[in-house]
């Protein structure tokens, strides 16, 4: 339970109808959460209190389900509706995918708050900030540090604080419904 990485890292995840449904719902939740809280701003920096959904989805339903949900939610819902799609584009898509993929892959158990905070709150968030800042800087739209720091400010609090709490609270319900991805893999 206290391990920070799982005994065996599982890269593959078979997509059935349940995985597809969970991806769709995760994408809508993530995109809607990001878009509906765009008015939560400190100066020009808009906060993303629902960013934790990507981490939670990755931890509960697996790296590919979480990653695709975050990618679709961020890129095809939030970015398109906000008009940011052409600018954030590739960096935002890969970064958000990784933000869910990394904790999904490396968190051994959802109730292990240290692992959720480490892989989701710190590593995953740093990766998304790096990709978004790096892409925007590569395209020459803004300096790297501007978007890197903005993404960190927006994503660290929800991923570091809220994600471990939600994971711990909701895990039993998810497991009872037979939706936890590691259990499903074992059953298969």
């Amino acid at each position: 339970m206290d391990r920070l990485i799982p005994e065996k890292i599982i890269w593959k995840q078979k997509f059935g109808t349940l995985e597809i449904a969970l991806t769709i719902i995760g994408a809508v939740l993530y995109g809607l959460g990001a878009f509906s809280t765009m008015n939560w701003a400190i100066g020009f920096i808009t906060l993303r209190p629902f960013a934790f959904i990507a981490v939670v989805w990755g931890v509960f339903f697996g790296p590919w389900v979480g990653g695709l949900a975050a990618l679709i939610g961020n890129t095809f819902i939030s970015d398109i509706l906000a008009g940011w799609f052409g600018i954030g584009g590739v960096g935002g898509a890969i970064g958000n995918f990784m933000m869910a993929f990394i904790p999904g892959l490396l968190v051994p158990h959802p109730k292990n708050w240290k692992a959720v905070a480490l892989w989701g709150g710190i590593v995953g968030t740093l990766v998304v900030a790096f990709f978004v800042g790096g892409w925007i800087a590569l395209m020459g739209f803004a300096p790297f540090w501007t978007l890197f720091s903005t993404v960190l400010i927006a994503d660290v609090p929800p991923n570091l604080i809220i994600a471990p709490i939600i994971c711990a609270w909701l895990f039993n319900r998810v497991q009872k419904r037979g939706l936890y991805w590691r259990d499903r893999l074992e059953n298969k």
């Binding site: 109808t17 769709i24 939740l29 739209f141 609270w169």
Partner: protein, 276 residues
Amino acid sequence: MAFVLQMLELGKLRSPIHSLDPRAKLLWWICLIIVPILVTNPFILLAFTIWIWIMAVLAKISYKMYRFLIITYPVMVGFIVLTWPFFYPATEDQFYFFRFGILHWSLEGTIYALAMGMRIVLALTACTFFVMTTDLMGLASAVGEFMQNKLRISYMYPLMVISSFKFLPELSGDYITITDSFRSRACDIDAGSIVQRFRKTIPVAIPLIDSMLRRAMRISIALELKAFDVDIKDRTFYEKYVFTWKDVLFVLTGVLAILFSILAIVLGIAKVEMYL
């Protein structure tokens, strides 16, 4: 939230632009993403932006698009324009408004920042025009058909995107119901300081996620009942999209924009550096 639904509905209007093939609009939009990557001259970028504003009149979305962009421009561009001058390389020949240690703000840096802001303005305008004139579900369906029939890629990926748009109104309804029920118990998620609002997301998130999981299970059952299979790659499509000469012409306008940008590079007028 109502704005999300409004945006999705705008794509279903009837106009000469709306009636074009969604794939044509997608290609045009990709061209308009490439333009601000090639060009940094703010006047050329402004000219392209005005061109899209004029096309918005033709697409009958001018009022809603202008109203949206007037709010969006400062939020999206302001922060970047304000921070760019601090990162602009400091040299002795610049005119400085202030210079203190590594912190500096020069006239040249400001001009450069405005040019960078103009690039984002063009990209934002093109994206907004594209979203407001395209039925996103139609686009995903057309792209899905192309991917399956030409590239042999499973319909699963477009389905996830299409369904996300399809469930957006339903899930936003759930979100509003949950936040309203909390509001009726004196817990307004949109009220209070940032820290207070941040804390309130937890009690809202629990029932939200829980109800969504139930919905996911229902969607999964519905997919099973309709015999959806990830491995099937010969699915038929209800709506057929055909490229006409109008679509080709529309894509050509985007290609012309790129050619004009390349010409500007050749002539040495594409970069903001010519004003610095």
